[in-house]
Point group: D2
Chain length 220, copies 4
Amino acid sequence: MTLIVLNFKCYRESTGQEALRLAEICEDISRDYAVQMVVVPQVADIHAISETVKIPVYAQHVDGVGYGGFTGHVTAASLKAAGAAGSLINHSERRLKLAEVDAAISACRNAGLETIVCTNNVAVTRASAALEPDYVAVEPPELIGSGIPVSKANPSVIRDSVDAVKCIAPHVGVLCGAGITHGEDLRSALELGSIGVLLASGIIKAKDQRKALEDLVTGA
Amino acid sequence: MTLIVLNFKCYRESTGQEALRLAEICEDISRDYAVQMVVVPQVADIHAISETVKIPVYAQHVDGVGYGGFTGHVTAASLKAAGAAGSLINHSERRLKLAEVDAAISACRNAGLETIVCTNNVAVTRASAALEPDYVAVEPPELIGSGIPVSKANPSVIRDSVDAVKCIAPHVGVLCGAGITHGEDLRSALELGSIGVLLASGIIKAKDQRKALEDLVTGA
Amino acid sequence: MTLIVLNFKCYRESTGQEALRLAEICEDISRDYAVQMVVVPQVADIHAISETVKIPVYAQHVDGVGYGGFTGHVTAASLKAAGAAGSLINHSERRLKLAEVDAAISACRNAGLETIVCTNNVAVTRASAALEPDYVAVEPPELIGSGIPVSKANPSVIRDSVDAVKCIAPHVGVLCGAGITHGEDLRSALELGSIGVLLASGIIKAKDQRKALEDLVTGA
Amino acid sequence: MTLIVLNFKCYRESTGQEALRLAEICEDISRDYAVQMVVVPQVADIHAISETVKIPVYAQHVDGVGYGGFTGHVTAASLKAAGAAGSLINHSERRLKLAEVDAAISACRNAGLETIVCTNNVAVTRASAALEPDYVAVEPPELIGSGIPVSKANPSVIRDSVDAVKCIAPHVGVLCGAGITHGEDLRSALELGSIGVLLASGIIKAKDQRKALEDLVTGA
């Protein structure tokens, strides 16, 4: 089933009560259409959302540490306790050191959380796949929030990423990110070999978020 | 009233259900003794705790950004929506850039959150007070988690910090951190001119957390 | 004497042989006009430049560590040995943590290097002055490289910074940065109470660097 | 020919004049014994050393940026101009973000510099090899500076790294780091499939650096 991961970022339209409302819309979409939606709110919003909706809730970031004398870190254990099912790792707005990406994947695996590592080009996709997360999401940073879908602007980065991952770690799923908004973007992302999309602004900032999501999933 | 700020850090004994249980103990202490307790759990635990206890809940870290296209950040708005009343800033285990400390204080002020900036020596206390948070907490990093109270190991760092703050920004309260565990530590912290303490491991890792807190507040 | 600090950044026109050539131009300007020029090349260029010119050579960044088991750090001792006379600290393109700014100032003081801490607004200028570097350079980041001089776009940030520093640490000199290119920019910077300017792109990227510098200093 | 890479770190015994003296010893060793020595001094020391010795001089760190408006960065172009032949990347004391490791390798390739990416375990070695540097140096951080050679404490991390690299990018050379000091350490590193070693404290802090190096290379 097509995977649609919606990064809530830190927009006013997806924080607090608004985050809860948007998560419920995503749950409706997931139920009404043949897609698996994942919502990715801010950490402070995870508990309330995971108490309310049945679809998977991911964090936007997780630190690769276990229990211990750390302050201000986001531990996999605390995410799990709050009801999260997974986490983004290394999003272009929250890049991690190479060893931290590895540690975050391990910490999530230990805590029973799934992982999506975000990457910026084919070489970094190869490197990330070598660390064996559940998914990689390829997002050329210059296209994030641009409204120009990567599947149109630079289809080879997706195709080559899919090929590279198949070669290095075939069980890792490839998601297509950056500039995805419309049904045709999703369709071409799937045609290029990805199993779904990671998207954000195009939906969050839409006048009618529900309609934007419906257009996305029915256009496909 | 003496301020007792308990940093939960990321210990197993203060995550998820354990965090909730510990927050309830702190609420009891706050009610039963003439102290104002503040609990500082991980961000993912804030919502459940603030729904349960009446004492102030602070975050361990906040990023100095408003609403916007950020991923993996901890915004003041999301903390406020989850029920937080304030945040630590620049803890020694989560140091921020100078301009980020300033931005975090502003972001909290805009969102109606209180701020405690952690510092490591008198010069940095002076600099932090110049940014006008609500509180500074002086914690020489070599004493954090040591069990050796700063008020004994290095009383002049507290006394000189209190003097420096009085001079630069007299409305900023000074907290004494690092190695605080027992009633006598609290008492000498107050005698040195601080208005309370920031503590963590000494309580969290105690065999009996409630008893450790009672010893702390009655010993004073 | 007016202080003119030229940050070479990492431009092609100010790296390697080009850095050497530009430093010699700055030395000429310093000798021919009543100004004190300071050149700030990349660290790898400091040794060759300080062997060639007599004017002070500063680094663009220094880490607040002494001798020890560090890798990839820029120590004050190595800068001193290469002939540097000082360093920028906390430039907007190389922000440091608050405690690192303090440590870098101390490390430079111990090694006999002068320090210029870069700041982004009045509050951060106050905080930086409290750490007692030799100079602070106020540079609103949105104006860096813009060609719009801060002295015109936002004169109060300079005036208020000068006032704040006078109050907190009167021996700290205030430099005016961001968007400074022409003689009138320098003149108004001095009228606002600064003792000189920190500038970069406007000179480095000029068609004729020598002429740009002459216009700057004679226009004042 | 066996590759021996000596990281000078920031020790007093390997800064400024001492760095120059040590580089000359390394040149003697390289000439007198059948090994290829590479010296890795601080950036500020590269120019003077590369003017004096004929063996390759590497930087301890390089930033993945080209020419441009950057401040405090170490560009590949500036290293090349100062006479460097390559750089360490991602040393455990100077970890980089994943995308920065990739960018630093590209920047070095463009500038004609060789690259050694430091890694901390087999998974990160795999990921780094996927980025195709010239070499990876496997250094479990807990053994760095310990005097306990990785080849003894944890030989499988070297053997498995060699196997993983052979599989992913067979042209990438594997170096063995962490705790290497004596001839037998070098010998077992080579037996495990590495083509040389990356070492530091064991030589730099030796009473007689020349003798320590001779013991290393003749013991092999």
